[in-house]
Symmetry: C2
Subunit: 225 residues, 2 copies
DNA sequence: CAAATGTCTATACACCTGTATATTAATACG
DNA sequence: CGTATTAATATACAGGTGTATAGACATTTG
C-alpha cells in the first residue's frame, strides 16, 4: 500500500541519518490541509500549492512528504477512519452498561459531527468523488466500521437470545444509512442534529426489529410489497 | 428559483425577437457537459471553458445561457431527477400487477444504473460536494423521491391491511439506503450489480418487516439493543 | 433598405496550477 | 575540520482558468 510504506519508514528509529533536519512533517501537512477544509471546501478542491502555503513551505517541498495531493487525501481518510472507529468503539463499550447500544452509538456519532471535527466530514462527504485510491480508502473505512458492527450485533443477539437474520446485511444497511444521514446532517444547522439523531435511532430500530422478526420466521415472509 | 426563471422565459412563444438566431441552446450545453462526464470525471471538476469547447462555442458564449457552471450543474440535477422519477414511477405502476413493488423498483433502479445513464450517476455521486445551490437541488430531488415513496407505502399498507409505523421515516430510510448503495455499486464491475440488487431487496424487506412489526406492537419495543 | 438588437467570436488580462531545474542550508560522519 | 547527504528554497515555464472588453455577424423591425 502506497501510504504505509513511508509510514513504516518513519516508524524506524530516527537514528542519526545524515542530512538536514526536517523542519516539517507529514503530520504538519495533514494539519494544514485540515485547517483549509470546511463546509464549503472539500478535499478534492484543495491544491498542492494551497496546502504548502498554509503549512508555510515552498510548493516543491510538498513532494518530500507526498507524491501528490491524492496521497495526502488518502492519509486524511486513514486518520479520519481511525479516529471515528476509536470514538465509536468507546461509545459501544460504554453503552453495554448504560443505555442501549444503538442510542449511545448514534448520539456519539452525532456529537462528533457537531464538534466540527473535520475528519468525520471528510469521511462522510467525499466517498464518491476523487481518485480511485481515495474512494478505495473510504470504502475500506466503511468496511472496517461494518465488520465491527456485525460482530457486535451477533454477540448482542446471542446475549439477548434474539435471532438475527443476515447479520452482514444488517450491519451494511446500518452503516450506509448512518453515513448517508450524517452527510445530510452536516449541511443543516446544529440545532436540528438531535432530531436527525432521533430519526436515525428509529430507522435503526426498524432494521433491527425487522431482522429479528425475520429470524423468528426463517426469512420466509411473502413478497406482498 | 434561479433556474426556473430563464426556463420560464424560454417557454414563452419564440415570437420573432430581433437579433441573431441562437445557434446553440441550453440543452446543447447540458448535452456537452454530459458527454464530458464519466466514471472519472465529476460535475464539480468541469470547467466552463471545457464545456464550451465540447459544445463548439467560444467560452464567453457560455454566459448567454448560464450565469456560471453552478447553474448548469443545477440544471443537470434537475434533469436527472425528472428522468429518474419518471422511470421509477413506471416501474411502480408496472409492479402492482406483476412482481413485488420493492423488487421491481430496485431492479429498475439498478438497470438504469448499468445503462451508463450518466444522469443517475450525477444524482448519486455528487450530493455532498459542490455549491449550496447544487446540494439543495440534489436534496430536493431526494425529497421528491421520498414523498412519492411514502404515498405508495401508505397506500399499499392500507391495501394489504398491514400496519406501517412512521411511514415518513421508512421512506426516508429506504431512499437514503438505495442511493447510498447505488453510489457504491457505481464503482463496481457490472457483473456484481445483481448481487447488490439482491442485497438491497433484503435490506428493504427488513425495514418493511420492521415497520410492520412495530406497527402491530405500537412501536413500544424495549430498548434492549 | 437601413437601423436596431441580440448572438457569437477574438483578443487580452490577471491569476492560479503542477512541476522541472538549480541552488542554498543544515546536519551527521569520517 | 571537510565532506557527503538530505531538506528546503528560488526561479521559471507551460498550460489552464474565469471573465472583461470590443467588434463582427445575422436577423427582425421600422
Amino acid at each position: 500500500m502506497l501510504v504505509t510504506a513511508p509510514a513504516a519508514a518513519r516508524r524506524t528509529a530516527p537514528a542519526a541519518v545524515p542530512g538536514r533536519k526536517a523542519v516539517i512533517s507529514r503530520e504538519d501537512l495533514i494539519a494544514a490541509a485540515l485547517k483549509l477544509l470546511g463546509p464549503h471546501r472539500s478535499v478534492s478542491t484543495l491544491s498542492l500549492r494551497e496546502v504548502a502555503r498554509e503549512a508555510g513551505i515552498a510548493p516543491n517541498s510538498f513532494y518530500r512528504h507526498f507524491r501528490d495531493m491524492d496521497e495526502l487525501a488518502v492519509a486524511l481518510i486513514d486518520q479520519a477512519g481511525r479516529s471515528l472507529r476509536k470514538i465509536i468503539g468507546e461509545a459501544r463499550h460504554r453503552a453495554t452498561t448504560e443505555r442501549s447500544v444503538v442510542r449511545s452509538s448514534v448520539e456519539t456519532f452525532m456529537e462528533q459531527l457537531s464538534a466540527d471535527e473535520k475528519l468525520l466530514h471528510i469521511l462522510l462527504r467525499e466517498g464518491s468523488v476523487g481518485s480511485d485510491a481515495f474512494k478505495r480508502a473510504v470504502e475500506r473505512e466503511l468496511q472496517f466500521f461494518e465488520d465491527e458492527l456485525r460482530e457486535d450485533l451477533v454477540r448482542l443477539a446471542e446475549a439477548h437470545g434474539t435471532g438475527i437474520y443476515e447479520a452482514a446485511l444488517v450491519s451494511k444497511a446500518i452503516t450506509r444509512l448512518i453515513f448517508a444521514m450524517g452527510a445530510t446532517a452536516m449541511d443543516m444547522p446544529p440545532e436540528r442534529h438531535s432530531d436527525i439523531a432521533e430519526q436515525m435511532i428509529v430507522m435503526l430500530r426498524m432494521i433491527i426489529v425487522g431482522t429479528q422478526t425475520m429470524a423468528e420466521q426463517g426469512g420466509h415472509r411473502d413478497e406482498r410489497l
